[in-house]
Assembly symmetry: C2
Homo-oligomer: 562 residues x 2
């Protein structure tokens, strides 16, 4: 029995278009002789639909689109579609109003609806906000031969939705939910488990997924097919990377990462196991993986928001250089405008390095000197600022003049402005709100400075894309004469490790100091991170590449004292 | 038996200070002869602590502070303190790591811990993200006479935490959780129910609370004491308004709204009912209520973030006028700086009206003409913009120049910048990102334009505080000659009703059109609201006064098509 795996890239809420993608996959599946087509979690509305789920009109539209799709699909193909289902018992039982569901469509109709049983409510996930967990074993029994006159065989398929697969106590050493739906299905003697997912990317996550599924398949002697959404939806990047393991835990199929895909696998009724025909390679380096993620994140955000072109400021520094390179790959170099905005404090190399970068990338560029605008502000503010020293106010003004110029260009020509701050800066607030933080999308705000350098070096592995001087020179905001970042921050190697401990490992300052760091440095960093919360709250969505990004999964109070 | 009710205003995470407030309340309670002191939900760490809860060091600090407080408290007073408790069975049982709890402190020790049973996970609430629900009846049995040699009597008190009280099927006509903890306690024959809350303010909510508690007290013939947190924590304003109802449903005590308070009530052992001594009046108008809420929201945000002074732009329009009046009340007029920033497109009255406002309020002001900065940008951008028409880019630049000047002043003198946009503008995106949206706090971003007018009229009920011309003239952004808002938006009465239906009532455009609105207008407004999501994502925290504010409880995708 052939099973098709459609790794789709839905646009949130764009039901008609998403249904069309499923329909096209269905036709290709039939051409390939498939009996069953799998699509990702919530493939009809895209994941995550967030508060669109609170609008009854939206739920109704999903329901109508699902019924229409059932009628349009080829009749002899079973299709699993991710959808939203109303919980009609909600008010009587004191439950949530909706289910996160999978509909089995076949013969023009909805045959059965399965509900997700484990609802992630942590990090970026808010599923308890909307959904009631299902409490049934989700079993789909398929007859393998519908058309012919031959006696048909039955395949019993266990249906799981994303998180349902992620509660294996033996693998994790703990449980995060009471039940384990996979165990439950295996106890119900399923031949095969399928998992419809929308699992966001983070560095190295695919290795965890593969190790976990190998473990489960082996432990339960049951093959598993994992099908993931692909594409960027605001801050979240879904990597695809759909794959299947046979009952011995061997990977027999893997779809390409960061791209749409249709794979076919075969469930062998004699062997009672899965066979695959194509295994896409995994990335050789984390840098290549992150690069691919960010390129997709930029491309999809721009495309799904309706932008054909992007603009960004080029400071001659490493952050904007990396973002320019990502943008050129994502949008096409002819659709990228880099703007150089030197001030009287800018070094010569900041302009010459940026010019070299523009040449290397082949993007468009423009140079706008900001000195006259600085003078205008100085003159306007002179009566108020007369008795004061040059300080943060004046430094920020330069950054904000640049931010204004970039927004003026974005508004005038309909470009998407990309902001270029890295995670280290966002953490300690070494960035200007309404200045260099301006943009519709923060491309590298989840990439620490040390990783920015590593990505640039990786990018240069064959030929110099990022001019060497940009990588080698000491980072500087150039907002006053001879300023460098390390005047006010610890070296980035130290800063990034402290931040990793604080943000990802949830270590206290006492623990970080115990790891050997200077107490004053640790306390200073801790204080800076807490104080910069008001800036992060107003930051654009930032592409998430780690398991703890600033953004929808980072929910800190501003007015607090810790 | 006397019971003290401490309506406290904690700062999130400031454990030492919050404990000190509880301690001071305890001493006053003893002076007043109280046997029991009630404090709000999570009174030790403040509500909501949000992702601070993910840091084990924070949980440990809460635990240590609680034990220290137990030792410091007067020995013969029972004190209920809101705190965080570790769930030691979490990993083994597949549960969340923490409980939202109440500790009964007495005789220098933690006597017992009660866990919250119903965990709100909707709107601004994310309790399922952190907490495991309790599954026990929370009963505290107090002996009424500890000191004397007399035989003591026992009072059986049912302890509930905020949401535990909000699932009365008979009152609401539906359940939102399976169990009803109050019913459960009454079945366990408690004499009295207490509810430790952190219930955020919204217009008219106190009426709902009082109706609900009257209903429950009457239905169960059991007195109820409701004790609420007071104070502003970022976007949330807690109104206090703690009150008590006796077993016949009569209100026998009410604390003042929007202020800290210590009340005493008496549980009469003979009558087996509550008696009170003081009932603060409720507000006569919604305008007075909203005004008081916003004043507290501004004051607390400034104070808890460490700002003594605020700055805002005064356009001569009604929004900034209202915010200036609120700021003067919250901070003291001498601590408010209004900045007038006329452009060549500003009308004469925009300056004269603002000057009049400044005089009426007695705040500080400064005038900065922005024409020279506009010219500087025009000159810088001329080569790029030469062939284009004056449009949104140029309009936004004016707003952004003003935003920069205000931030320069805020940075230079350490002022908090208040932004002045209203909810109608925030909804349809009639505001400039990085321009008039700039600020640390958006004071009226949950107040629709029609309500802004009503508030100004209310404010002028005795004498003219807001100059009449500011209220009467047609709203205008004055970013091009002779511009008024109604050139591009429907009249605010119509807009606000459409928005109310869309945002609060979750109506679809079909439903709103069916209510009698012009389909083109409805579709236009719907489209504007969806498109403006990218601006709202980058807005400062905005004080919440309705049951659906843009902010932490509004979670919409940006890249979507609906």
């Amino acid at each position: 029995m052939k099973i098709a795996i459609a790794q789709l890239n839905p646009t949130i809420g764009y039901l008609k278009n998403n249904a069309q993608s499923i329909l096209e996959s269905a036709h290709k599946s039939v051409e390939n002789g498939a009996r069953l087509l799998l699509t990702p979690e919530l493939s009809l509305c895209g994941y995550p639909p967030r508060d669109l789920l609170l609008n009854p009109g939206f739920i109704e539209a999903v329901s109508q689109q699902l019924e229409k799709l059932a009628r349009q699909l080829p009749p002899h193909l079973a299709v699993l579609v991710g959808t939203i289902e109303k919980n009609t018992d909600a008010a009587a039982n004191g439950q949530k109003a909706l289910y996160n569901s999978v509909a089995w469509l076949e013969s023009g109709q909805i045959q059965k609806i399965f509900h997700k049983r484990l609802l992630p409510t942590y990090d970026v996930f808010d599923e308890d906000r909307y959904f009631e967990p299902g409490n049934q074993s989700n079993i789909l029994t398929l007859e393998t031969s519908k058309k012919g006159g031959l006696a048909s065989e039955r395949v019993k398929i266990g249906v799981t939705i994303c998180e349902d697969l992620w509660n294996d106590e033996a693998f994790w050493g703990k449980r995060i939910y009471e039940i384990n739906p996979v165990q439950d299905l295996v106890q119900n003697s399923v031949d095969l488990v399928v998992n419809l997912s929308a699992s966001p990317y983070s560095v190295g996550k695919q290795k965890v997924r593969e190790a976990m599924l190998k473990h489960s398949a082996t432990a339960y002697q049951t093959p598993i097919i994992y099908i993931n959404q692909v594409g960027g939806n605001d801050d979240l990047i879904f990597d695809g990377n759909s794959f299947a393991v046979d009952g011995t835990g061997k990977i027999i199929n893997r779809a390409k990462a960061f791209d749409t895909n249709l794979s076919i696998v075969e469930y062998d009724l004699q062997q009672q196991d899965l066979q695959g025909f194509s295994i896409a390679p995994i990335f050789e380096t984390e840098e290549e993986e992150i690069w691919s993620a960010l390129v997709l994140g930029v491309r999809d955000y721009a495309q799904k928001c309706g932008f054909a072109r992007v603009v960004l400021g080029l400071s001659g520094g490493i952050d904007s250089a990396l973002v320019a390179a990502i943008a050129a790959e994502a949008m096409g170099r002819e659709n990228v405008l880099g703007v150089l905005m030197p001030s009287p404090y800018s070094s010569d190399h900041s302009v010459s390095d940026a010019v070299k970068l523009v040449e290397n990338l082949g993007i468009n560029s423009y140079k706008l000197a900001i000195g006259d605008a600085m003078n205008a502000y100085d003159k306007i503010l002179e009566p108020l600022f007369a008795e004061t020293e040059f300080g943060v106010a004046e430094e920020n003004l330069q950054s904000r003049i640049r931010g204004n110029l970039l927004m003026a260009i974005a508004n005038k020509f309909g470009y998407l402005l990309l902001s270029t701050g890295n995670k280290s800066e966002m953490a300690v607030g070494y960035c200007t709100l309404y200045g260099d933080m301006n943009g519709g999308l923060a491309v590298i705000s989840d990439v620490p400075k040390t990783r920015v350098s590593a990505l640039c070096r990786w990018l240069n592995r064959h030929r110099e894309t990022i001019p060497a001087n940009i990588i080698e020179k000491p980072p500087s905001a150039e907002l006053k004469p001879d300023q460098i970042d390390q005047d006010s921050l610890p070296p980035y190697e130290i800063l990034d490790d402290i931040l990793e401990r604080m943000i990802h490992l949830h270590e206290s300052s006492a623990q970080i100091i115990a790891a050997g760091y200077n107490p004053q440095v640790v306390e200073k960093v801790m204080k800076l991170v807490v104080r910069a919360e008001f800036k992060r709250r107003q930051a654009p969505p930032g592409l998430k590449i780690t398991d703890r990004a600033f953004g929808t999964g980072w929910r800190m109070p501003i007015a607090c004292r810790v």
